[in-house]
Symmetry: C2
Subunit: 263 residues, 2 copies
Amino acid sequence: LSAGIKSISFAGAGNVATHLALSFYCAGYDIAGIYSLSVASASVLAEKVSSKVCTTIAELSEHADLVIISVPDYAFGEVLEAIAPSHKYIVHTSGGLDMEVMNGRVSKYGVLYPLQTFSKNTEVSLKKVPFCIEASEKELLDKLRLLASSVSDTVVNINSTQRRILHLSAVFASNFPNSMYSIAEDLLKSENLSFELLHPLILETTRKATLHPPQEVQTGPARRHDLETMKAHEKMLEKTEPYRQIYDLMSRTIQKQSKKEKV
Amino acid sequence: LSAGIKSISFAGAGNVATHLALSFYCAGYDIAGIYSLSVASASVLAEKVSSKVCTTIAELSEHADLVIISVPDYAFGEVLEAIAPSHKYIVHTSGGLDMEVMNGRVSKYGVLYPLQTFSKNTEVSLKKVPFCIEASEKELLDKLRLLASSVSDTVVNINSTQRRILHLSAVFASNFPNSMYSIAEDLLKSENLSFELLHPLILETTRKATLHPPQEVQTGPARRHDLETMKAHEKMLEKTEPYRQIYDLMSRTIQKQSKKEKV
């Protein structure tokens, strides 16, 4: 840690802040302070990482080399305004916010974006999580690389335009599939079937998609252009909008994707 | 294998037939014959399981206790017509076809439906794959349970109505998520980013969804009702239909799902 960051404060105590703070704490960093609008959340996290609860955002900069702002995008501007302008490094963890939103407010700033889905109560090792870093100057970029490397095997330089696309594609690769699982669970309930029956299928689907380009391992009625089955399925979904609409749109998309492939 | 089935023939040499034939062969069953419209596919499979290629469907019943029909649903009727009516057991492997489609044509019939996504060139262990079984008579049901248990830890009695719902929900849990991965990959290409960056995310998403009800671990802008991010995303997708439409429909679905949860 010699040339790098030694102490870190967090604005925010949500899913991302919690996982980062815990991991950096375990990697030997000093977590100097935690601020959150929810004092309860700040207290829970502060206790886990032997830190103290800050009652104002301005306090965060005291004794911390780096302040990590990890709050919802809509709250970011307000938090940034309240940060004490100082020589300290400031980074955010957002996929959707440009780095330059910090320009003019602080002098040395950057982004530390862990590409993962975090839930507070789900343990997750950061070792395999890609950390996307960006900074306003080389010195900070180097420090962020050192910091991220202490908890992850994959640290990549990603500019703001790329990060925006990454974030959007993560919605397609994670949020939407998870919603599809909810729909599947809901459909199974009508016949008193357990979602657990589908566990091996969804695990295998993901495994295949990480071994081959997903396009190449697409299966199912739409991929086979099995119109009869698709028609039967849409009939079963007749009374369960928006499921029928999703079925129709996704099936047409898969058919288009596989046509493209043939050309 | 004493009281059970000893020899099996296959009508079909596609993904499902291939994986079943290989697994049963490895479990010690005699694969008596393989028929396929594509003689090339039949030959490839027959060689792998020390079987012989049958040139007519009628031949399949010779020396086989059980004939497994594993062909696309649209081809099933024709194959069934050509099966020699005999005392032998006939099953199909389809998620979408009722068992009773065989009624009147053969006397002892059933279903052996492995709930998994199969690609010919992807190895998959059947140990964790649920085998859904159904039969026209208890004796055959017992034999199917014995047979399926020889390759899988999970064998469940599933009637035709349940199987139809299972099959439909499998489309939502496997085919549609995989198509979402293709879209993510496509979006990343525009910024020369590798889909590999998303591998840890999609693996973690699936892991979480098998540990908790998917509804409970839903994340992302739609779940947070983060309208600003959603608007920015839709703007980025403006020129890439049907992606924008999918984003919109799925986001609205997630918002509805999470409202239901709150009530």
